[in-house]
Symmetry: C2
Subunit: 332 residues, 2 copies
């Protein structure tokens, strides 16, 4: 960042972002680059993910929630890799009509999450765009050398485990777009709010990162739907997975919606934006993983098994495989 005190850019950076840049390596946002010294014997884990107004969030969403979402979807990647957050860089392109109120709210949300997840702002770049707001974040994490959990380590016989609940966000965004669905899905206000809030504000499972690192043979963060992301993990590992649909962890709200319209299980499994951790581990590790995760207030459910072959199969109570009209969320 940086900038001339005479320039509007610098004034905005100084007012809203410099107070967040307390990490010494951020150099107060007055240099060309940030600097990090990884702890000895550690690797650097890097991920980048962006959100665009009208694509990944509603332009009317509160600015602090937009900031939190942009950071959290990156934190979720670090969590799934078993890495601890070290900091992040922000690339912000804002339309002319985004005023200082919006920026103030954005910085407040960003700062709150930077503190909560111990992931400080290290640097960034701001621009005006003749189009929708684009917020792109690169998050940096540390992990002991060689210990990053990859997608490719799943082995036949491993158990498939998922954190939290699946599908809330995908149902929530449908509800945001079409509020009348709440009645069709037999949801009261609290249940509807639960689903839309999960879309607005993901809850990355960084509290479970150490458990993932200690026990998982492979892991992926679920951003494009459990079905598609499990397929990616299986492909990277050269294995297949069999998932018991009745074992999938659904929130009360999602369970109610699926009870009202059974086809919504496909939305839940392919809609994306869960930001839960999907991982595999030897059966003997599951109890310990769950104990550590649950001590960190992260629920974890066994949902199936890694087997020989290709692809992920979702089996209903009768043992029949579900088929989906689309595999996973894709922007192209």
């Amino acid at each position: 960042m940086g900038g001339d005190p005479q320039s509007g850019e610098d004034r905005l950076i100084a007012r809203y972002f410099r107070p967040l840049a307390r990490h010494p390596g951020a150099l107060g946002l007055v240099d060309d680059a940030a600097i990090l010294s990884p702890p000895e014997g550690h690797d650097v884990v890097l991920t980048t993910d962006g959100v665009i107004a009208g694509v990944h969030f509603f332009a009317t969403d509160p600015a602090d929630a937009v900031a939190a979402k942009a950071l959290r979807i990156n934190l979720s990647d670090l969590a799934a890799k078993g890495a601890e957050p070290a900091g992040f860089l922000l690339s912000l392109a804002l339309p002319q009509d985004f005023g200082e109120d919006w920026l103030a709210g954005f910085a407040r949300g960003l700062g709150a999450d930077a503190d909560r997840y111990k992931c400080p702002l290290l640097g960034g770049d701001t621009d005006r765009i003749p189009g929708p707001a684009v917020i792109s974040i690169t998050a940096i994490g540390f992990v002991p050398h060689g210990k990053m959990v990859k997608r490719s380590g799943a082995r036949v016989g491993d158990v498939v485990v998922v954190t939290g609940t699946i599908g809330d966000s995908a149902l929530g965004v449908r509800l945001r777009r079409t509020p009348t669905l709440a009645a069709q899905w037999a949801l009261d206000d609290a249940a509807g709010d639960h689903l839309t809030r999960r879309y607005l504000l993901p809850e990355p499972r960084n509290a479970a990162a150490l458990a993932v690192r200690a026990h998982a043979s492979a892991a992926i963060d679920i951003s494009d739907g459990l079905a598609g992301d499990l397929a990616k993990l299986c492909r990277a590992s050269g294995v297949a997975a069999e998932i018991s649909v009745s074992s999938l962890p659904l929130s009360d709200a999602a369970r109610r919606a699926v009870a009202a319209d059974a086809s919504l299980i496909e939305t839940a499994l392919t809609g994306g934006d869960d930001y839960e951790i999907l991982c595999t581990m030897p059966p003997e590790d599951v109890a310990s993983f769950r104990a550590v995760a649950e001590a960190a207030a992260v629920q974890a459910a066994e949902i199936g098994l890694i087997v020989r072959g290709e692809g992920a199969r979702f089996l209903d109570a009768s043992g029949a495989a579900l088929t989906f009209s689309r595999g996973s969320y894709s922007h192209f």
Copy 2:
């Protein structure tokens, strides 16, 4: 990146970007994150900078040049910090009407520069945007622990040195917008092409990074104009600078334009997009710095001195200070 083979996103990533991701830490772009192991005793240097169609480049610019510019403006930050490139992450938001031809050209340009500057693609994120193309890059570099060159190290008595030539790009973009200026500025085709090409395709001075690290007390990459960026360096260092306008390195083309219209010296000094290195060093280091830089085919010119006080003054042959109607380029 990653992606489902059924999805368009994954197909495009596999076809155009996976071939560029040959660094083992990129994991073939099929994981949530990339991994880097810094050499022992090294710090990690991080910078992010983006370009937006219609703001930082013309939507009609060749795709390979757009990719090169997006990467090079980040490489320039690493060069000014004395860091060696380790790799980069790409966040790409493309309008629906950018076809595969464009993407193929973009990937070709990106791959060529990744090879040229030894800065491999490590990971990224692709999206569609209902607006202009946005290309955001985070570049990562390594530097021996504690050796990153900051903006804040300039000392009274240091000499101010700049690489390459100043103002070509700022004049070039004016020429792109108003081609009839070429006649007013008395430029032939070759001179006009030189200026517009410098805007299209910056030449970051990474070849001089080791010389900067060995000799510079402070450094900044010139992205917002020499005048404004020197003011930032002075502010960070708590010093002032006196620059001799007659010592400024201008290309033949820029010199001709300024001879035709003396007011263009302000464009040259405040227009931005130079991507040269501005640095300071003790007088006794200059000869050695220039020798090392010039051995790497990077010209370097002494342009002034660091003095007590605040701000940067540009003195003409009579010793009178130039005044500028604007200090430096700002997007806000």
